[in-house]
């Protein structure tokens, strides 16, 4: 079974996975942008815990998973660059959580926020390159056939459809980049808000 769902709050996502497991749907895979793959089995009470991390190399990722395994947590899914890392306790020594203070739990949102903003910067940079390539004249991204709009009938339509694929090829990337940049801004803002909320609840020296 597949389910599409977007979470901004890790606690809510953990609860969602727990509730799904109680109905007999066990998380098998998480693909980016909110697509959860579940496997149907008998209902279970599973205490999912989510960390958010990206690793600079395979060795560091292995080291991370080894530390969690040593401490009694099984890495259920997540890749080196997926961000979300899902864990389940596999022995008593795991305890109830993968964080022992709230500052480190909140740090996940800071990492998420920083990555969102980094993506926004990259996307804006690409947009700028596109803009510079047409000298700031956005009309150059649309129809370029001279005198196209003065033509009528068959002459117009054949020229129009001839150029249309090229226009789409020029216009779609900047639109897509803009949409994705806005989404990342929104996601980053949400992460920052939750970070601020959870950090303000704790004592500075905890």
């Amino acid at each position: 079974m597949k389910k599409f769902k977007i979470f901004y709050d890790f606690d809510e996502e953990e609860k969602f996975l727990h509730d799904m497991a109680e109905q007999g749907h066990i998380l098998k895979k998480y693909s980016i942008f909110g697509l959860y793959h579940f496997e149907d089995t008998e209902p279970q009470n599973l205490n999912y815990k989510i960390d958010y991390r990206i690793f600079k190399n395979r060795k560091e990722f292995d080291n991370y998973i080894a530390l969690f395994e040593d401490a009694g947590w099984r890495h259920v899914c997540g890749t080196r660059s997926s961000g979300n890392q899902y864990f389940l306790p596999m022995s008593e020594k795991a305890g109830t959580d993968i964080f022992s203070d709230r500052v480190s739990a909140a740090a996940r949102y800071k990492t998420l926020y920083k990555l969102c903003m980094l993506n926004v910067v990259f996307l804006l940079f690409y947009l700028l390159i596109i803009l510079l390539s047409v000298g700031g004249d956005l009309s150059k991204l649309t129809f370029l056939t001279p005198g196209l709009w003065e033509r009528t009938g068959k002459a117009f339509w054949s020229a129009f459809f001839f150029e249309l694929p090229f226009v789409l090829f020029r216009v779609i990337p900047p639109i897509l980049l803009t949409v994705v940049a806005v989404l990342y801004c929104y996601w980053g803002a949400k992460a920052k808000k939750i970070y601020k909320l959870s950090i303000n609840k704790v004592d500075k020296y905890e």
């Binding site: 815990k49 960390d51 060795k59 560091e60 292995d62 530390l67 964080f99 022992s100």
Partner: protein
């Protein structure tokens, strides 16, 4: 380098730096911190990994060659030792001043 900025240390950081005076991997540090604190400081896996990552970036600990390919070994650096010393002096003063004033009462 200005090491003052790291003070006061959190209890977690203090025990990690102490535990890593001898080289050890992440889980060994978790066990050692618990042992050194008489079972009071129990650092969970996610908190531990984050702390090791931060301390490495601050150069208070560093990774040293490991015989186990999957597990990184860490050790407290010269700077880390110095921070520990400064922190213990700070704490010592706090205890001394407490004893002195309590003694006066």
């Amino acid at each position: 380098m200005n090491l003052e900025k790291y003070l006061p240390l959190t209890e977690t950081t203090y025990y990690i730096l102490l535990a890593l005076l001898e080289p050890g991997h992440g889980y060994a540090v978790m066990q050692k911190a618990e042992e050194l604190s008489n079972g009071r400081v129990r650092i969970a896996a996610g908190t531990m990994y984050g702390a090791l990552d931060n301390l490495t970036r601050q150069k208070l600990i560093e990774s040293v060659p490991s015989s186990d390919p999957r597990r990184k070994m860490y050790q407290t650096t010269e700077e880390g030792r110095h921070v520990l010393l400064m922190e213990s002096q700070r704490l010592k003063h706090m205890i001394e001043i407490y004893n002195k004033l309590q003694g006066d009462v």
